[in-house]
């Protein structure tokens, strides 16, 4: 480790490149993984997933509060915990935008989308889109955008898992970190195949409780050390970072002011706005969040579950502010930079704060919670992508609806295996980047490719198939092209491809271009083609969305 880190006063004398004791860390960690696996097997009811209702939608039998916990579990992924804390530890106030954007986004999800989708849909986002539009092309497009969003989300989770386990074991070697990612992929496949949606939902609930409780304890601990005075905490951040900031030509108090990362130029400010737009509009287009609206018996329970999750998630995001700033004053600012030897870089901030406060035990527990978070989120994502492929492409397009429910589940399980393999490869490429940032790319794709079509098909009768296809493909392609030519993929020190430089776009998040483009294409596509002759379907969709007539019911047990 670098000499600079060693000379800085930390609350607990720990080595940030290898905190704790690998033996204790791993023992606590494995015990935790074992317990959650048992829950999956029990909660999932063995392997009796003959019906799609059970495997995909958990029998629609969860209560609003239970489902709210599960939504929080899905949403509070590695990005929210490891990623945001790391972003605040390194970019100061600018990192807090993630917390705010991720939360305000729920206003769109709750008011515009959640209940109406619950009333119309069955398993996937495409069920709603295909209701009155031409089903086959719409389902194919929706499955493709779902897979794209899932891919970016999975990359982030895998990067997080690799960094975390390497931190526990003190592994700084690249090849060994890749092995860690492969092991996570295998565990994930086992989880999903055994548990299905129901088992995963149970893990999400337990994990959400542990994560929020763990973050709460750590936050109170940090505040107690600062006399429960936020001002004192911020003062210590300034004190610890001013020298480092001066070295970068920044003001002494740059860490507590906006603009440290995104304040340099007008382009940087546009990039900040771009990120902000993606965060706030992405949530209501995330397929794995939308799917959670189907695991409750009624629209009213869907509403209750979103309310539960908004309060839990909001509370958690207040904790991230304290934890991020705690990392910023407890450790030398140099250790977050690439090459300092800290596994996972800024993503290690949250577990390091835990280690500084409570030593190896606290580190082991918090790391296990974080790992369970990743495992559960990955499983939820894999189920969503698998459901989308088997239900939308295999059942409704390849087999034209003539398929036994058993076959649909078998195809989904095979898809999970394939997704697991892709996630392993992607996770290895992305492991040096901040996780919250990686997830923001998934949000940008969701907001550009999914949100316009969802909103217009629910609220605009003149909307039609061409508008939907233009918007989904146009939003997706523009977002992907901008990402490929951005500093994320090449031309920056933490880029995925280190040997190349085809970095053209100054934006690290495509949202500010691709989201308006997605909406614009939806409108232009719809207005330049005829209104579909589906008045009866339009009326049925309208009535069912608002009244809940004929909505999918819970499976009786």
């Amino acid at each position: 480790m670098s000499a600079a880190a060693g000379t800085v006063l930390t609350l607990a004398a720990i080595d940030p490149t290898s905190p704790g004791k690998p033996g204790i860390n791993i023992a606590i960690f494995l015990a935790f993984v074992l317990v959650t696996l048992i829950i999956v097997i029990k909660g999932g009811g063995g392997s009796k997933h003959s019906s799609g209702e059970e495997f995909f939608a958990g029998g629609r039998s969860f209560s609003g509060a239970q489902n709210g916990l599960a939504i929080s579990g899905d949403y509070l992924s590695a990005a929210s915990f490891l990623g945001i804390v790391g972003a605040i530890a390194t970019a100061g106030y600018d990192g807090f935008l993630y917390s705010i954007g991720f939360l305000v986004a729920w206003i769109v999800a709750l008011l515009l989308v959640a209940e109406l989708m619950r009333n119309i849909g069955k398993f996937t986002m495409a069920d709603v889109l295909a209701f009155r539009l031409r089903a086959r092309p719409i389902r194919v497009a929706a499955a493709i955008t779902t897979l794209a969003v899932t891919f970016f989300y999975l990359l982030a989770q895998m990067a997080g898992a690799g960094g975390l386990v390497s931190l526990l074991l003190g592994i700084t070697d690249d090849a060994m970190q890749s092995v860690v990612i492969a092991v996570v992929g295998v565990l994930m496949i086992v989880y999903v195949l055994i548990g299905g949606m129901k088992g995963t939902t149970w893990v999400q609930m337990i994990k959400a409780v542990l994560l929020i409780a763990g973050a709460a304890v750590t936050t109170v601990w940090v505040l107690a050390l600062n006399g429960f005075d936020l001002s004192e905490l911020l003062g210590r951040v300034v004190e610890n970072t001013q020298e480092h900031m001066a070295g970068k030509g920044q003001a002494a108090d740059a860490m507590i002011n906006p603009g440290l990362k995104y304040g340099g130029s007008d382009w940087a400010k546009v990039d900040f706005l771009s990120l902000g737009l993606a965060l706030v509009l992405g949530t209501a287009g995330l397929p794995h969040v939308l799917m959670r609206f189907y695991t409750v018996p009624t629209a009213k329970e869907a509403r209750k579950s979103v309310v539960w999750s908004i309060f839990l998630i909001g509370l958690f995001y207040v904790f991230t502010l304290v934890l991020g700033y705690a990392a910023a004053y407890m450790f030398a600012p140099e250790i977050w930079e690439k090459g300092s030897g800290v596994p996972g870089g800024s993503n290690a901030a949250a577990p390091l704060v835990a280690a500084a406060l409570g030593g190896p035990w606290m580190l082991g527990i918090m790391a296990a919670v974080a790992f369970a978070t990743i495992l559960a989120v990955v499983a939820g994502l894999a189920i969503t992508a698998a459901t989308s492929f088997s239900h939308d492409i295999y059942t409704n397009v390849v087999k034209k609806g003539q398929v036994s429910p058993g076959a649909e589940v078998r195809v989904a399980k095979a898809t999970v295996v394939v997704i697991g393999l892709i996630a392993i490869v992607g996770g290895i490429a992305a492991k040096d980047q901040n996780i919250a940032f990686l997830v923001s790319l998934a949000f940008a794709v969701a907001a550009s490719a999914n949100l316009p079509t969802i909103v217009f098909s629910l609220y605009w009768k003149r909307f039609n198939t061409r508008g939907a296809l233009w918007s989904m493909y146009g939003g997706l392609i523009s977002a992907l092209v901008i990402i490929v030519f951005s500093p994320v993929v090449s031309g920056s020190p933490t880029a995925m491809l280190t040997g190349a430089d085809f970095d053209l776009a100054p934006l690290s998040n495509p949202g500010i271009v691709s989201i308006p483009l997605g909406f614009l294409l939806a409108i232009v596509g719809a207005l330049t083609s005829k209104r579909e002759d589906e008045r009866a379907k339009e009326a049925e969709m309208d009535v069912r969305a608002l009244t809940g007539v004929g909505a999918e019911k819970a499976v009786p047990h």
């Binding site: 106030y93 206003i107 008011l111 906006p258 009866a536 049925e540 608002l546 004929g550």
Partner: protein
């Protein structure tokens, strides 16, 4: 399963167009839209104003208000509180204004009236 059929079976031969035209349904729809569209727009506008202030108004946002706590921290936490407030307001509104109207129409359809004319 045909998309027009509810699993309950009762909604099989419903004239949805007639229901959509009915005054009861129109009232439900306009009540819903008159709440959600302005509130979502206001929420997003507030958020974008905050993001603009944090980038082009960084000087103001960096002004200390309470000790080291500056406007940026206060307005950021205010965004979180505003989200909570909107959530509470929507639930209050939906329980009182939307649910009874929706239930009335749904029950009429499920009773086999084939519409609420």
């Amino acid at each position: 399963m045909g998309q027009g059929l509810g699993p309950g079976g009762a909604a099989e031969n419903v004239d949805y167009s007639a229901i959509e035209q009915s005054p009861e349904f129109s009232r439900l729809r306009s009540t819903h839209r008159r709440f959600v569209i302005p509130v979502v727009s206001a929420g997003l506008a507030g958020y974008i104003a905050y993001a603009l202030l944090a980038s082009w108004g960084a000087g103001f946002m960096s002004t200390r208000v309470l000790g080291n706590v500056n406007w940026a921290i206060i307005l950021g936490l205010a965004q979180i509180l505003a989200t909570f407030a909107v959530t509470v307001a929507y639930v209050w509104f939906a329980n009182r204004k939307l649910d009874p109207k929706a239930a009335q129409i749904r029950e009429a359809i499920e009773a086999g009236a084939g519409g609420v004319q």
